[in-house]
Symmetry: C2
Subunit: 223 residues, 2 copies
């Protein structure tokens, strides 16, 4: 058995997962970051994931998966990204994204004999993504404990979602206290090649409002 508490932490290069990684480290976990390159249009996200892992001093693995053959999302297809004020489930929804990312994290957790997966999903600002809700996370944990060698052998895997009930402002405040440099992160759905954010997409608008509500200066570079 491991005496070290080990965790796989899903990182995207965004604000939420950078905070999640800082929280997992603060809880004493030996963290291993996992980023999924799912054929995004914005490669700047992966560069941000590399900066976030480096700043936290944890190893980063990147899994390449090409979801374009499945399609269905503005993030991987050639659909226009909407600018502000959409309702219901947005067209930026990637089919099965969190399920796929958690599956990959589960595979890595098994290989590393990790006891936990951290994912920065959030039910407050969840934007209508079905796979950001607590009942989805509970169902995945139940699945994981039937899916792996470790589960068969009696070592459970826990899915941690430390942001699930926090507002964006609270996330930014917690991360700032833990020393996260949000200048390393990118939230924008259409950041330019230098990682500068557009300031008009849904994701930018949520980020800007979050920093304002937190009373913390936004270090993001906007185009």
């Amino acid at each position: 058995m491991n005496t070290v508490k080990r965790a796989v932490v899903l990182v995207s290069g965004g604000l939420d997962s950078a905070t999640t990684l800082a929280m997992a480290k603060d809880q004493g976990f030996d963290c291993h970051a996992l980023a999924v390159n799912y054929g995004q249009r914005h490669r700047s996200e992966l560069q941000a994931a590399e900066r976030v892992a480096r700043a936290a001093g944890v190893p980063l693995r990147i899994v390449d998966i090409d979801l374009r053959s499945i399609g269905g999302s503005a993030l991987t297809d050639d659909i226009e990204v909407p600018e502000g004020g959409t309702e219901g489930i947005p067209v930026t929804y990637v089919p099965a994204r969190n399920t796929i990312m958690l599956s990959l994290a589960m595979g890595l957790a098994e290989v590393l004999q990790a006891e936990a997966i951290f994912i920065g999903v959030n039910a407050v600002d969840y934007s209508g993504y079905p796979d950001c809700r607590p009942e989805f996370i509970a169902a995945f944990e139940s699945l994981a404990n039937r899916a792996t060698k470790a589960a068969v052998e009696g070592a459970p895997l826990a899915i941690h979602t430390p942001l699930i009930d926090l507002t964006k402002a609270e996330i930014i405040q917690r991360g700032t206290l833990l020393g996260v440099d949000y200048g390393d992160t990118v939230s924008c759905y259409q950041a330019d090649e230098d990682g500068r954010a557009c300031a008009v997409c849904d994701s930018c608008l949520i980020r800007i409002a979050g920093f304002q509500a937190a009373g913390i200066t936004d270090p993001t570079r906007y185009a």
Copy 2:
């Protein structure tokens, strides 16, 4: 709503998934085949998947995913493939493979508005893979019905496992009645570049014994 019954069928190029596809077609589903290229050492598997889909007259999508950055399996690492008689969970186990494949199928099912996923898992000859057991499949179905837009909107997704209780001989007998040409399929963990099987790995031994028990001539080309 769809009036057509539509299904995503996971195909690997192996005997089991070719039979599963034939069964799904026989049940009247409009079938869409999905193969996952998870960095296998044996590319002949994907060529077999293409032959199987073509013979069934169904479209095939291939998702490329590189699991080598996760590791842990003889199928994707440089570990020797064992020859016959292993016990417990074999080293050819790919971490989280069925979970990842079902997640991808779920994403495609959402995009295609399919109501079913077919996967050729089998609990009889299951070789110790935890993610081939009925309780795993039930947990995934429960997850899927919390994970997708369609689930949120009340259209359930069913996971069909028509082979779950069949012996290898019964699978071969059913598929033969449905016109499956098993010469199109490859089971071998280490088939050569021409798709010829080794006749000595676990998977070949199970296949050979299955055809013998079924009383059906094995069309496999052995090296």
